[in-house]
Subunit: 145 residues, 2 copies
DNA sequence: AACATATTGGATAATTTTATCCGAAATATA
DNA sequence: TATATTTCGGATAAAATTATCCAATATGTT
């Protein structure tokens, strides 16, 4: 369902939020270690998330990645879109160029329902809320925290 | 959601069924052309589907791929599993090894709902039924038929 | 028997995704 | 100012996916 890069991105962003809620900035290195992802690859993904302003970053000592109220309007769907584009959310799931309500592919109407659930999954909770659940120990990102 | 190979596989199988319902066997070449997929790559995918007995094949002149009542118990979920494995249906969507009801990842419970819809999408109609819809012009596989 | 058609299987190539490396830029601290 | 830390950006490498090619096998037809 998600590319490897997107999996890392989702875990990274939630981890960044958990730490930002405790007023800590985190390095790409730390993030990679905590979520079990290769550090350099994680850094590349974080570059894109930063460029898209989904998280913030500061260079230098005591720098790192963080999230605050200025990033509170983004959700996991935005993260997925930044990393993987929006094939998951739009376009024909079988790759037909001319697929529409009037000229549907065999999966067209069923895919609508699947996508509705995917949307709910990725938009119903804020990134901050997801981080709070991790902090509370209700969910986990690895073998972390 | 689906790999390119799976997209081709789904379209191939449904196309084979449409032709088998008219008592025609079809070559890998014809399938590739009709569904807009590279012929050699399609042939490779068809090899796997044949090995899994999702469709039948006969070599030589007037040979080709076909489906009959002996293949009627398979559905699109089987096709997806043969080509892509079952990552879409099981395992943690974020790749966590220790993800469970008791120790869930942030998406665990939402993913259950998404997968329920994916299951419905891929199992509720038989391959034959999907082919009939194409034959009736209610759905399409390309710019075909 | 010879020939043409079609799948099968293996090897190879191209492309995309995943991953690594390194130097440059920014910045806090001593 | 010098140094250490950290992101940024580009180049490169490795692995997986997608795609192509060709020879071998099977089989129907002439």
């Amino acid at each position: 369902m998600f590319s490897q890069a997107t999996k890392y991105a989702i875990k990274s962003v939630i981890y960044i939020w958990t730490q930002s809620l405790e007023d800590r900035k985190v390095s790409a290195k730390e993030i990679g270690q905590k979520i079990g992802a290769p550090e350099a690859f994680t850094a590349k993904i974080l570059q894109n998330l930063t460029k898209a302003k989904i998280v913030g970053s500061i260079k230098g000592p005591n720098g790192g990645f963080f999230a605050d109220e200025s990033h509170a309007n983004f959700n996991l769907k935005d993260v997925v879109k930044i990393v993987d584009g929006d094939q998951l959310f739009s376009g024909c799931s079988l790759g037909l160029h001319k697929c529409s309500e009037k000229n549907p592919c065999p999966l067209h109407f069923e895919v609508v329902k699947v996508r509705k659930e995917i949307d709910i999954m990725l938009t119903s909770k804020s990134l901050k809320h997801l981080a709070v659940e991790v902090i509370k120990g209700q969910t986990q990102l690895g073998n972390i925290i």
